[in-house]
Symmetry: C2
Subunit: 372 residues, 2 copies
């Protein structure tokens, strides 16, 4: 993983992160030049990071769908995150954590910060951008903010804007964190370990929107956690149904690897997701898109129901296709249904290449290797 | 509203509520006798109460679907509630609130307590039982625990058992309450106003499962609450999207009318809902049912998806029919889609009467009026 400074970064809403840095990771050799190359940007979801082969296994590597023998896959950590990029837990120029001084971000801010990073790397155009969930929101904004920057986009399990329901359930997660006494208004970094209970509670709620309800039921139903009795004479939090043990585990796991401040910041960015804002409305914005775009959804997605991808497909300017993952898993299927995603990504790569004449960017000029 | 003592009540799990009381309300004259009468039990949902014409308007009254010129509609408050029946906020024999000493309840406990009340009133049989959501769970248990007690049942927007997803999201609500510092382990009654923030947070989560996601989006989308700016440079809880203002309002409203201890107790009862438990499994239990049962679901229900009512309909012993409410409203449609519910309840009443020979219970003997 590398970290590059993008200088002072001012958000659309007008706050500045001084000395912002963006971390990234690269798989495969860069070929081409600043304006014509083999770069594929992969955008991570809410709690993802630059380690794309870790969170999206089986899809990125030599011979895989995103073939690193052909492509240079770059994955950046979102501004506001905690995987190397500047976020609330990062050190402010005054030596203390940013904490509550870290501004609210929009999805567009995340894209803008990423563009600044690529500019620093000497990249002014990429072949494709791919992302799911929050990564899909970023990929979609890429096509609208910088349509000439990308040849094609694959946008997975996301919508054109946050829905009322999403804002509601996401704000419930933010509230679970901020009501934790260890949140300290977001300035817990010098005081304690942070709002671990709150972050865990937020993740438990989130996880129920990431998975299919029938899948969770099939796995757990009303079964008791082994060695525990959730049917006792009095309710006891340590006597659980198996599903609650599973959700507790998901919460604990996140607490170990993710910062609560980043969780709040990026969840808020999702609340603000709306490609129509300042662009004369949603459908007009989508219609204006000139980037060939593949849309993907999941039939059992609770968080971003498939009708939202249908809506995108009806309105986006240059539709390459709409594909549906069929899976009991729900939203997370784009991370877990590797075989289906493999097919879809290969189709996307083929279609994206069909449109373009062969150029240096696709390995025809092995000399054109940049060292990024 | 009347309140009747049912004596010491011991739960299935073995805890005792000494001197338990159950409140109830009656609409329409009782006709018939202890074993043959015109009583229709209406079972309220989680935060409902005995005031059935208030929370289910347009359906109960003279000439309405549940015609109080013909029927005697009785609505009891669930044990554990806070609408007159004994619950955590009630006074323990020692003069202080029950609080954490109030036991965990199952749906079967709620039914048993209600049966004890009816027994006190001299009623050993009713014509029909009707309920939605938690009320549906109770109605379903009525048909399995006391099949000869009811002629017919109408079970709305519920499942044969809690699903893993339901237990997860319901426990998230319990946790929102119990993590509130004002919860005090359930013994807040003498100390403070109780976990108002936590209860409000629980309700906000719950409300998102009570309504259809497309309905909420259609109403609120990404619109800002009037006079507030949710897109400012920093996240501020007092600068909200309209949907969050709406959810805050739902939370506040509940806090004013409902006790957090009762919310936890009855939510936990829903977690324990499982008609298969101790009855050789779910489908065997359903198949054993001898009570003619009408099933009703909502096409957009997130909390109790329609496939759960389909499951019930495939397995229940005596199926009168399966009806689907078509509504954007989601789970709450059984409370709000009065016209559709009117038709369904009239059909149910007709079918329930078809099976039975005319008896004193249906107004043929106006002398047979009991004063309950």
């Amino acid at each position: 993983m590398a970290i590059t400074s993008i200088g002072d970064f001012t958000t659309i809403a007008g706050a500045t992160v001084t000395g912002a840095e963006i971390s990234y990771r690269r798989h495969g050799e860069f070929r081409g030049n600043a304006y014509d190359n083999n770069v594929i940007l992969v955008e991570h979801a809410l709690t993802g990071d630059t380690d794309v082969t870790e969170w999206w296994p089986g899809l990125i590597g030599p011979g895989l769908a995103l073939d690193t023998d052909r492509f240079c896959v770059i994955c950046t950590n979102a501004l506001g995150g905690c995987g190397g990029s500047t976020g609330p837990s990062s050190v402010h120029p005054d030596g203390r954590a940013w904490g509550s001084r870290f501004p609210a971000l929009s999805i567009r801010d995340l894209v803008e910060a990423e563009r600044r990073l690529l500019e620093q790397l000497g990249i002014y155009h990429v072949h494709a951008v791919i992302g799911g969930s929050m990564g899909g929101a970023r990929a979609l904004e890429w096509t609208l903010m910088y349509p000439t920057f990308v040849d094609a986009a694959c946008i997975i399990a996301v919508s054109a804007r946050a829905s009322g329901w999403q804002i509601g359930i996401q704000t419930a997660q933010i509230s679970a964190i901020t009501r934790d006494p260890d949140w300290h208004g977001g300035d817990y970094y010098d005081i304690c370990d942070g709002p671990r209970e709150g972050l865990s509670a937020a993740r438990r709620i989130a996880h129920l929107t990431y998975r299919g309800e029938m899948e969770i039921d099939e796995r757990f139903g009303t079964i008791a956690q082994q060695g525990e009795n959730p049917l006792g004479a009095f309710r006891r939090p340590d006597q659980r149904f198996a599903v609650n043990s599973y959700l507790d585990y998901q919460g604990r796991k996140l607490v170990e690897r993710f910062d609560a401040g980043s969780y709040v910041t990026l969840t808020e960015a999702l609340n603000r997701h709306d490609v129509g804002r300042g662009r004369s409305g949603l459908n007009k914005a989508l219609y204006s898109s000139t980037v060939p775009t593949m849309l993907v959804g999941v039939d059992t997605d609770i968080l971003y129901p498939f009708h939202q991808q249908e809506h995108l497909s009806r309105n986006i300017g240059q539709l390459m296709g709409l594909r549906k993952l069929v899976s009991p898993v729900g939203h997370d299927a784009f991370l877990t249904e590797t075989r289906q995603m493999d097919r879809i990504l290969r189709m996307f790569i083929n279609k994206a290449n069909d449109g373009a004449e062969p150029t240096d960017g696709f390995g025809h000029d092995p000399e054109g290797v940049w060292n990024i």
